[in-house]
Amino acid sequence: MRVKLKAGRDKRKFIERIEELSGENVFACYQCGRCSAGCPMASEMDLLPNQIIRLVQMGLEEEVLRSKTLFLCASCFTCESRCPKGIDMARVMEAVRHILDPKGKDAFGPGEISPELAKELPQQVMVSIFRKFAK
Protein backbone atom coordinates (compact mmCIF):
# COMPACT_ATOMS: atom_id res chain seq x y z
CA MET A 1 0.00 0.00 0.00
CA ARG A 2 1.29 3.44 -0.84
CA VAL A 3 0.91 6.03 1.87
CA LYS A 4 1.00 9.65 0.88
CA LEU A 5 2.86 11.70 3.47
CA LYS A 6 2.67 15.15 1.99
CA ALA A 7 -0.18 17.28 0.69
CA GLY A 8 -0.16 17.89 -3.04
CA ARG A 9 -0.42 21.29 -4.64
CA ASP A 10 -4.19 20.95 -5.01
CA LYS A 11 -4.60 20.62 -1.24
CA ARG A 12 -2.67 23.78 -0.40
CA LYS A 13 -5.73 25.99 -0.69
CA PHE A 14 -7.53 24.19 2.13
CA ILE A 15 -4.49 24.24 4.39
CA GLU A 16 -3.79 27.91 3.72
CA ARG A 17 -7.40 28.81 4.43
CA ILE A 18 -7.30 27.01 7.79
CA GLU A 19 -4.08 28.80 8.67
CA GLU A 20 -5.47 32.14 7.60
CA LEU A 21 -8.68 31.72 9.61
CA SER A 22 -7.11 30.26 12.73
CA GLY A 23 -3.93 32.31 12.74
CA GLU A 24 -2.11 29.10 13.72
CA ASN A 25 0.75 27.30 11.98
CA VAL A 26 -0.61 23.76 11.65
CA PHE A 27 2.77 22.45 10.49
CA ALA A 28 4.25 23.24 13.89
CA CYS A 29 2.49 20.11 15.16
CA TYR A 30 4.75 17.06 15.55
CA GLN A 31 2.00 14.73 16.74
CA CYS A 32 2.95 14.32 20.38
CA GLY A 33 -0.71 13.80 21.24
CA ARG A 34 -0.88 15.89 24.41
CA CYS A 35 -3.95 17.69 23.09
CA SER A 36 -5.80 14.40 22.76
CA ALA A 37 -4.49 13.10 26.07
CA GLY A 38 -5.94 16.07 27.95
CA CYS A 39 -9.16 16.47 25.99
CA PRO A 40 -12.21 15.92 28.24
CA MET A 41 -14.33 14.92 25.24
CA ALA A 42 -11.80 12.57 23.60
CA SER A 43 -13.79 9.47 24.53
CA GLU A 44 -16.73 10.68 22.41
CA MET A 45 -14.68 11.60 19.35
CA ASP A 46 -14.30 9.71 16.07
CA LEU A 47 -11.08 11.58 15.29
CA LEU A 48 -8.86 12.83 18.10
CA PRO A 49 -7.64 16.44 18.06
CA ASN A 50 -4.12 15.42 16.98
CA GLN A 51 -5.61 13.33 14.17
CA ILE A 52 -7.63 16.33 12.99
CA ILE A 53 -4.52 18.45 12.80
CA ARG A 54 -2.63 15.66 10.96
CA LEU A 55 -5.42 15.42 8.40
CA VAL A 56 -5.31 19.21 7.97
CA GLN A 57 -1.54 18.97 7.38
CA MET A 58 -2.22 16.40 4.66
CA GLY A 59 -4.97 18.53 3.18
CA LEU A 60 -7.63 15.85 3.58
CA GLU A 61 -10.51 18.30 3.64
CA GLU A 62 -13.42 15.86 3.27
CA GLU A 63 -12.23 13.60 6.07
CA VAL A 64 -11.89 16.58 8.40
CA LEU A 65 -15.21 18.17 7.48
CA ARG A 66 -17.26 15.05 8.10
CA SER A 67 -15.78 14.33 11.52
CA LYS A 68 -18.07 14.39 14.56
CA THR A 69 -15.19 15.86 16.53
CA LEU A 70 -15.90 19.39 15.27
CA PHE A 71 -19.09 19.42 17.32
CA LEU A 72 -17.63 17.80 20.40
CA CYS A 73 -15.11 20.51 21.14
CA ALA A 74 -16.25 22.54 24.14
CA SER A 75 -13.53 25.18 23.59
CA CYS A 76 -12.16 24.57 27.07
CA PHE A 77 -8.60 25.26 25.80
CA THR A 78 -7.05 22.38 27.72
CA CYS A 79 -5.29 21.37 24.49
CA GLU A 80 -4.05 24.93 24.01
CA SER A 81 -2.57 25.03 27.50
CA ARG A 82 -0.71 21.75 26.98
CA CYS A 83 0.60 22.10 23.42
CA PRO A 84 4.43 22.20 23.54
CA LYS A 85 4.43 24.00 20.18
CA GLY A 86 1.97 26.70 21.21
CA ILE A 87 -0.78 25.76 18.78
CA ASP A 88 -4.27 26.78 19.82
CA MET A 89 -6.20 23.72 18.71
CA ALA A 90 -9.55 25.32 19.59
CA ARG A 91 -8.83 27.91 16.91
CA VAL A 92 -8.08 25.21 14.35
CA MET A 93 -11.40 23.53 15.22
CA GLU A 94 -13.21 26.84 14.86
CA ALA A 95 -11.55 27.47 11.49
CA VAL A 96 -12.70 24.07 10.23
CA ARG A 97 -16.26 24.75 11.41
CA HIS A 98 -16.05 28.12 9.66
CA ILE A 99 -15.45 26.57 6.24
CA LEU A 100 -18.30 24.05 6.45
CA ASP A 101 -20.93 24.58 3.76
CA PRO A 102 -22.69 27.84 4.69
CA LYS A 103 -25.89 26.54 3.13
CA GLY A 104 -25.70 23.25 5.01
CA LYS A 105 -27.77 22.21 7.98
CA ASP A 106 -26.96 23.63 11.41
CA ALA A 107 -25.03 21.13 13.51
CA PHE A 108 -27.19 22.31 16.38
CA GLY A 109 -29.90 24.87 15.79
CA PRO A 110 -32.56 26.63 17.86
CA GLY A 111 -35.21 24.10 16.75
CA GLU A 112 -33.52 21.39 18.76
CA ILE A 113 -34.18 22.92 22.16
CA SER A 114 -37.60 22.09 23.56
CA PRO A 115 -39.57 24.95 25.17
CA GLU A 116 -39.39 23.16 28.56
CA LEU A 117 -35.62 22.90 28.38
CA ALA A 118 -35.30 26.50 27.19
CA LYS A 119 -37.10 27.65 30.35
CA GLU A 120 -34.49 26.01 32.51
CA LEU A 121 -31.27 26.75 30.59
CA PRO A 122 -29.08 29.71 31.48
CA GLN A 123 -29.03 32.27 28.65
CA GLN A 124 -25.30 32.06 28.13
CA VAL A 125 -25.43 28.39 27.13
CA MET A 126 -27.89 29.12 24.33
CA VAL A 127 -25.92 32.10 23.09
CA SER A 128 -22.69 30.12 23.09
CA ILE A 129 -23.94 26.92 21.49
CA PHE A 130 -25.60 28.76 18.61
CA ARG A 131 -22.50 30.86 18.11
CA LYS A 132 -20.46 27.69 17.87
CA PHE A 133 -22.70 25.22 16.07
CA ALA A 134 -25.33 27.17 14.12
CA LYS A 135 -24.70 29.11 10.93
Binding site: L21, G23, I113
Partner: protein
Protein backbone atom coordinates in the same frame (compact mmCIF):
# COMPACT_ATOMS: atom_id res chain seq x y z
CA UNK B 1 -17.25 54.11 46.49
CA UNK B 2 -18.62 53.32 43.05
CA UNK B 3 -17.31 50.57 40.82
CA UNK B 4 -18.33 49.64 37.28
CA UNK B 5 -19.80 46.17 37.15
CA UNK B 6 -20.84 44.14 34.11
CA UNK B 7 -23.38 41.49 35.15
CA UNK B 8 -24.07 39.85 31.77
CA UNK B 9 -27.23 38.25 30.45
CA UNK B 10 -27.57 35.17 32.65
CA UNK B 11 -27.25 37.07 35.92
CA UNK B 12 -30.32 39.12 35.05
CA UNK B 13 -32.46 36.10 34.17
CA UNK B 14 -31.80 32.55 35.34
CA UNK B 15 -28.99 33.02 37.80
CA UNK B 16 -29.92 36.09 39.81
CA UNK B 17 -28.32 34.44 42.86
CA UNK B 18 -24.87 35.40 41.60
CA UNK B 19 -25.93 38.99 40.90
CA UNK B 20 -27.81 39.63 44.14
CA UNK B 21 -25.25 38.02 46.45
CA UNK B 22 -22.44 39.92 44.71
CA UNK B 23 -24.20 43.26 45.17
CA UNK B 24 -25.03 42.58 48.81
CA UNK B 25 -21.50 41.42 49.60
CA UNK B 26 -19.93 44.44 47.94
CA UNK B 27 -22.30 46.78 49.76
CA UNK B 28 -20.93 45.39 53.03
CA UNK B 29 -17.49 46.36 51.79
CA UNK B 30 -18.76 49.92 51.09
CA UNK B 31 -18.63 49.45 47.33
CA UNK B 32 -21.61 50.28 45.18
CA UNK B 33 -21.71 48.41 41.88
CA UNK B 34 -22.78 50.51 38.89
CA UNK B 35 -23.76 48.98 35.57
CA UNK B 36 -22.65 50.76 32.41
CA UNK B 37 -25.62 52.44 30.73
CA UNK B 38 -27.11 50.37 27.90
CA UNK B 39 -24.85 47.34 28.27
CA UNK B 40 -25.67 44.35 26.07
CA UNK B 41 -24.81 40.66 26.04
CA UNK B 42 -21.08 40.17 25.46
CA UNK B 43 -21.68 37.34 22.99
CA UNK B 44 -20.62 34.57 25.40
CA UNK B 45 -18.02 33.21 22.98
CA UNK B 46 -14.91 35.11 22.00
CA UNK B 47 -14.67 34.83 18.19
CA UNK B 48 -11.85 32.39 17.52
CA UNK B 49 -11.37 32.98 13.81
CA UNK B 50 -9.59 35.98 12.40
CA UNK B 51 -12.56 36.95 10.25
CA UNK B 52 -15.31 37.13 12.85
CA UNK B 53 -14.49 40.70 13.79
CA UNK B 54 -18.12 41.57 14.37
CA UNK B 55 -18.14 39.41 17.50
CA UNK B 56 -15.86 42.00 19.10
CA UNK B 57 -18.29 44.87 18.60
CA UNK B 58 -20.62 44.08 21.53
CA UNK B 59 -17.98 43.67 24.25
CA UNK B 60 -16.01 46.68 23.02
CA UNK B 61 -19.13 48.84 22.94
CA UNK B 62 -19.74 48.02 26.60
CA UNK B 63 -16.12 48.74 27.51
CA UNK B 64 -16.24 52.04 25.64
CA UNK B 65 -19.36 52.96 27.60
CA UNK B 66 -17.46 52.33 30.84
CA UNK B 67 -14.79 54.73 29.61
CA UNK B 68 -17.40 57.32 28.60
CA UNK B 69 -18.78 57.17 32.14
CA UNK B 70 -15.34 57.89 33.53
CA UNK B 71 -14.53 54.36 34.66
CA UNK B 72 -11.10 52.85 34.27
CA UNK B 73 -11.95 49.44 35.71
CA UNK B 74 -14.87 47.11 35.12
CA UNK B 75 -15.45 43.98 37.19
CA UNK B 76 -17.39 40.87 36.18
CA UNK B 77 -18.24 37.66 37.96
CA UNK B 78 -19.39 35.32 35.15
CA UNK B 79 -16.44 33.42 33.67
CA UNK B 80 -17.79 33.69 30.13
CA UNK B 81 -18.25 37.46 30.35
CA UNK B 82 -14.84 37.84 31.91
CA UNK B 83 -13.24 35.79 29.17
CA UNK B 84 -14.96 37.65 26.31
CA UNK B 85 -14.41 41.15 27.72
CA UNK B 86 -10.81 40.51 28.64
CA UNK B 87 -9.84 38.84 25.36
CA UNK B 88 -11.67 41.43 23.26
CA UNK B 89 -9.94 44.21 25.21
CA UNK B 90 -6.56 42.57 24.66
CA UNK B 91 -7.24 42.12 20.95
CA UNK B 92 -7.99 45.84 20.67
CA UNK B 93 -4.82 46.73 22.57
CA UNK B 94 -2.51 44.39 20.67
CA UNK B 95 -3.86 44.10 17.14
CA UNK B 96 -3.92 47.35 15.13
CA UNK B 97 -6.04 45.85 12.35
CA UNK B 98 -8.75 44.63 14.72
CA UNK B 99 -8.66 47.96 16.54
CA UNK B 100 -9.19 49.82 13.28
CA UNK B 101 -11.95 47.58 12.02
CA UNK B 102 -13.93 47.41 15.28
CA UNK B 103 -13.72 51.17 15.75
CA UNK B 104 -14.91 51.67 12.19
CA UNK B 105 -18.05 49.73 13.15
CA UNK B 106 -18.59 51.56 16.40
CA UNK B 107 -17.74 55.13 15.46
CA UNK B 108 -21.20 55.86 14.11
CA UNK B 109 -23.14 54.43 17.04
CA UNK B 110 -26.01 56.64 18.09
CA UNK B 111 -26.79 56.83 21.74
CA UNK B 112 -30.00 58.36 23.04
CA UNK B 113 -30.03 59.68 26.57
CA UNK B 114 -33.04 58.09 28.34
CA UNK B 115 -33.90 61.31 30.19
CA UNK B 116 -33.14 64.21 27.88
CA UNK B 117 -33.64 62.25 24.63
CA UNK B 118 -30.44 63.86 23.46
CA UNK B 119 -28.62 61.99 20.68
CA UNK B 120 -24.90 61.43 20.91
CA UNK B 121 -22.79 60.11 18.07
CA UNK B 122 -19.24 60.23 16.78
CA UNK B 123 -17.57 58.36 19.62
CA UNK B 124 -13.82 58.60 20.06
CA UNK B 125 -11.99 55.36 19.18
CA UNK B 126 -11.65 52.81 21.92
CA UNK B 127 -8.06 51.66 22.35
CA UNK B 128 -8.34 49.39 25.35
CA UNK B 129 -8.28 52.06 28.07
CA UNK B 130 -10.50 50.17 30.51
CA UNK B 131 -9.08 47.38 32.67
CA UNK B 132 -11.19 44.21 32.86
CA UNK B 133 -11.00 42.44 36.21
CA UNK B 134 -12.69 39.44 37.70
CA UNK B 135 -14.23 40.20 41.08
CA UNK B 136 -11.82 37.69 42.66
CA UNK B 137 -8.91 39.76 41.37
CA UNK B 138 -10.51 42.97 42.61
CA UNK B 139 -11.10 41.47 46.05
CA UNK B 140 -7.50 40.33 46.28
CA UNK B 141 -5.72 43.35 44.85
CA UNK B 142 -7.88 46.39 45.51
CA UNK B 143 -10.05 45.54 48.51
CA UNK B 144 -7.46 43.24 50.05
CA UNK B 145 -8.07 40.16 52.20
CA UNK B 146 -7.21 41.91 55.50
CA UNK B 147 -10.06 44.39 54.94
CA UNK B 148 -12.47 41.56 54.15
CA UNK B 149 -11.41 39.74 57.33
CA UNK B 150 -12.14 42.84 59.40
CA UNK B 151 -15.73 42.85 58.19
CA UNK B 152 -16.47 39.15 58.65
CA UNK B 153 -19.36 38.52 61.03
CA UNK B 154 -20.00 34.82 60.49
CA UNK B 155 -17.53 32.01 60.88
CA UNK B 156 -17.37 29.12 58.43
CA UNK B 157 -15.10 27.40 60.96
CA UNK B 158 -12.79 25.95 58.34
CA UNK B 159 -15.52 24.27 56.31
CA UNK B 160 -13.82 22.21 53.58
CA UNK B 161 -14.85 23.79 50.28
CA UNK B 162 -13.61 22.98 46.77
CA UNK B 163 -12.82 25.85 44.39
CA UNK B 164 -13.79 25.03 40.83
CA UNK B 165 -12.17 27.16 38.12
CA UNK B 166 -13.45 25.42 35.00
CA UNK B 167 -12.15 26.47 31.62
CA UNK B 168 -12.70 30.12 30.87
CA UNK B 169 -11.07 31.81 33.84
CA UNK B 170 -7.65 30.34 33.20
CA UNK B 171 -7.27 29.62 29.52
CA UNK B 172 -5.84 30.59 27.08
CA UNK B 173 -3.29 31.63 29.63
CA UNK B 174 -1.46 34.19 27.48
CA UNK B 175 -4.63 36.18 27.01
CA UNK B 176 -6.41 35.57 30.30
CA UNK B 177 -3.31 35.83 32.57
CA UNK B 178 -5.66 35.17 35.48
CA UNK B 179 -3.52 32.69 37.39
CA UNK B 180 -1.15 29.81 36.71
CA UNK B 181 -3.11 27.47 34.42
CA UNK B 182 -1.90 24.25 36.04
CA UNK B 183 -1.78 25.24 39.67
CA UNK B 184 -4.13 28.20 40.21
CA UNK B 185 -4.64 29.43 43.76
CA UNK B 186 -6.50 32.77 43.68
CA UNK B 187 -9.86 31.09 44.35
CA UNK B 188 -8.41 28.99 47.21
CA UNK B 189 -6.78 32.07 48.73
CA UNK B 190 -10.15 33.81 48.65
CA UNK B 191 -11.90 30.87 50.37
CA UNK B 192 -9.22 30.77 53.07
CA UNK B 193 -9.59 34.51 53.59
CA UNK B 194 -13.31 34.20 54.35
CA UNK B 195 -12.83 31.37 56.81
CA UNK B 196 -13.26 28.20 54.74
CA UNK B 197 -10.61 25.54 54.23
CA UNK B 198 -9.84 25.18 50.52
CA UNK B 199 -9.71 21.57 49.39
CA UNK B 200 -7.07 20.64 46.85
CA UNK B 201 -8.31 18.22 44.19
CA UNK B 202 -7.13 17.27 40.71
CA UNK B 203 -10.18 18.28 38.65
CA UNK B 204 -10.42 21.95 39.60
CA UNK B 205 -9.53 23.25 36.15
CA UNK B 206 -11.17 20.48 34.11
CA UNK B 207 -14.13 21.19 31.85
CA UNK B 208 -17.71 20.65 33.12
CA UNK B 209 -18.97 20.00 29.58
CA UNK B 210 -19.84 23.65 28.99
CA UNK B 211 -22.39 24.24 26.22
CA UNK B 212 -22.30 20.57 25.22
CA UNK B 213 -24.83 20.08 28.02
CA UNK B 214 -27.44 21.11 25.46
CA UNK B 215 -26.26 19.18 22.41
CA UNK B 216 -24.71 16.16 24.16
CA UNK B 217 -26.19 15.97 27.66
CA UNK B 218 -24.61 12.59 28.44
CA UNK B 219 -21.10 13.86 27.75
CA UNK B 220 -21.70 16.88 30.01
CA UNK B 221 -23.17 14.63 32.71
CA UNK B 222 -20.02 12.54 32.69
CA UNK B 223 -17.70 15.55 32.67
CA UNK B 224 -19.60 17.16 35.57
CA UNK B 225 -19.63 13.89 37.49
CA UNK B 226 -15.84 13.64 37.20
CA UNK B 227 -15.45 17.10 38.71
CA UNK B 228 -17.97 16.53 41.51
CA UNK B 229 -16.61 13.10 42.41
CA UNK B 230 -13.07 14.40 42.52
CA UNK B 231 -14.07 17.25 44.85
CA UNK B 232 -16.10 14.96 47.07
CA UNK B 233 -13.39 12.30 47.31
CA UNK B 234 -11.00 15.00 48.46
CA UNK B 235 -13.28 15.77 51.39
CA UNK B 236 -15.17 18.84 50.17
CA UNK B 237 -18.53 19.60 51.78
CA UNK B 238 -19.41 22.03 48.97
CA UNK B 239 -18.02 23.16 45.65
CA UNK B 240 -17.82 26.82 44.64
CA UNK B 241 -18.02 28.26 41.14
CA UNK B 242 -17.96 31.67 39.46
CA UNK B 243 -19.78 30.74 36.25
CA UNK B 244 -23.56 30.33 35.80
CA UNK B 245 -22.97 27.57 33.26
CA UNK B 246 -20.69 25.61 35.58
CA UNK B 247 -23.41 26.11 38.18
CA UNK B 248 -26.05 24.74 35.83
CA UNK B 249 -23.96 21.72 34.90
CA UNK B 250 -22.84 20.89 38.42
CA UNK B 251 -26.05 21.75 40.27
CA UNK B 252 -28.99 21.24 37.93
CA UNK B 253 -27.54 18.05 36.47
CA UNK B 254 -27.02 16.37 39.84
CA UNK B 255 -30.30 14.44 39.76
CA UNK B 256 -29.24 12.91 36.44
CA UNK B 257 -25.71 12.35 37.69
CA UNK B 258 -26.98 10.55 40.80
CA UNK B 259 -29.18 8.29 38.67
CA UNK B 260 -26.34 7.49 36.28
CA UNK B 261 -23.55 7.06 38.82
CA UNK B 262 -24.70 5.25 41.92
CA UNK B 263 -21.54 5.97 43.92
CA UNK B 264 -22.29 9.70 43.94
CA UNK B 265 -24.51 11.04 46.68
CA UNK B 266 -24.70 14.78 46.05
CA UNK B 267 -22.65 17.89 46.79
CA UNK B 268 -23.96 21.45 47.27
CA UNK B 269 -22.81 23.91 44.59
CA UNK B 270 -22.34 27.55 45.56
CA UNK B 271 -21.25 30.78 44.00
CA UNK B 272 -18.15 32.34 45.53
CA UNK B 273 -20.23 35.48 46.07
CA UNK B 274 -22.70 33.58 48.28
CA UNK B 275 -19.82 32.45 50.50
CA UNK B 276 -18.54 36.02 50.70
CA UNK B 277 -21.98 37.51 51.34
CA UNK B 278 -22.73 35.05 54.13
CA UNK B 279 -19.38 35.64 55.83
CA UNK B 280 -20.04 39.38 55.70
CA UNK B 281 -23.40 38.98 57.43
CA UNK B 282 -25.87 39.20 54.55
CA UNK B 283 -29.35 37.79 55.23
CA UNK B 284 -29.96 34.27 53.93
CA UNK B 285 -32.94 35.48 51.89
CA UNK B 286 -30.60 37.61 49.81
CA UNK B 287 -28.36 34.72 48.75
CA UNK B 288 -30.76 33.47 46.07
CA UNK B 289 -30.75 29.91 47.45
CA UNK B 290 -34.11 29.25 45.78
CA UNK B 291 -32.31 28.77 42.47
CA UNK B 292 -30.39 25.76 43.72
CA UNK B 293 -31.47 22.21 42.93
CA UNK B 294 -29.16 20.67 45.52
CA UNK B 295 -30.06 22.02 48.98
CA UNK B 296 -27.19 24.15 50.23
CA UNK B 297 -28.51 25.14 53.65
CA UNK B 298 -26.09 22.87 55.51
CA UNK B 299 -23.17 24.98 54.35
CA UNK B 300 -24.29 28.18 56.03
CA UNK B 301 -23.55 27.89 59.72
CA UNK B 302 -24.86 30.61 62.00
CA UNK B 303 -21.74 30.67 64.17
CA UNK B 304 -20.77 34.28 64.71
CA UNK B 305 -17.19 35.26 64.20
CA UNK B 306 -15.88 35.64 67.73
CA UNK B 307 -12.55 37.19 67.03
CA UNK B 308 -11.14 39.20 64.18
CA UNK B 309 -8.75 37.00 62.27
CA UNK B 310 -5.47 38.52 61.37
Amino acid sequence: MKLHYYPGCTLKQKTTALDISTREAMRRLDIELVEPEGWTCCGAEYPLTEEKIVGLAAPIRTLRQVREEGGDVVVTTCSFCYSVLKRANKAIQDDPLKRKRVNAYLRDDIQIDPLTKERTTGFADYNGEVKVLHLLEYLRDTVGYPRIRERITRDFRGLPVAAYYGCRLLRPQKEMAFDEPDSPHIFEDFLEAVGCAAVDYPFKQECCGSYLSVSLPDAATEASYRVLRSAKMSGAKAITVTCPLCFYNLDHRQEVIKAAYLDFSGLPVLFFSQILAWALGVDKKLLGLGEHTVPADSVFSETPATEVRS
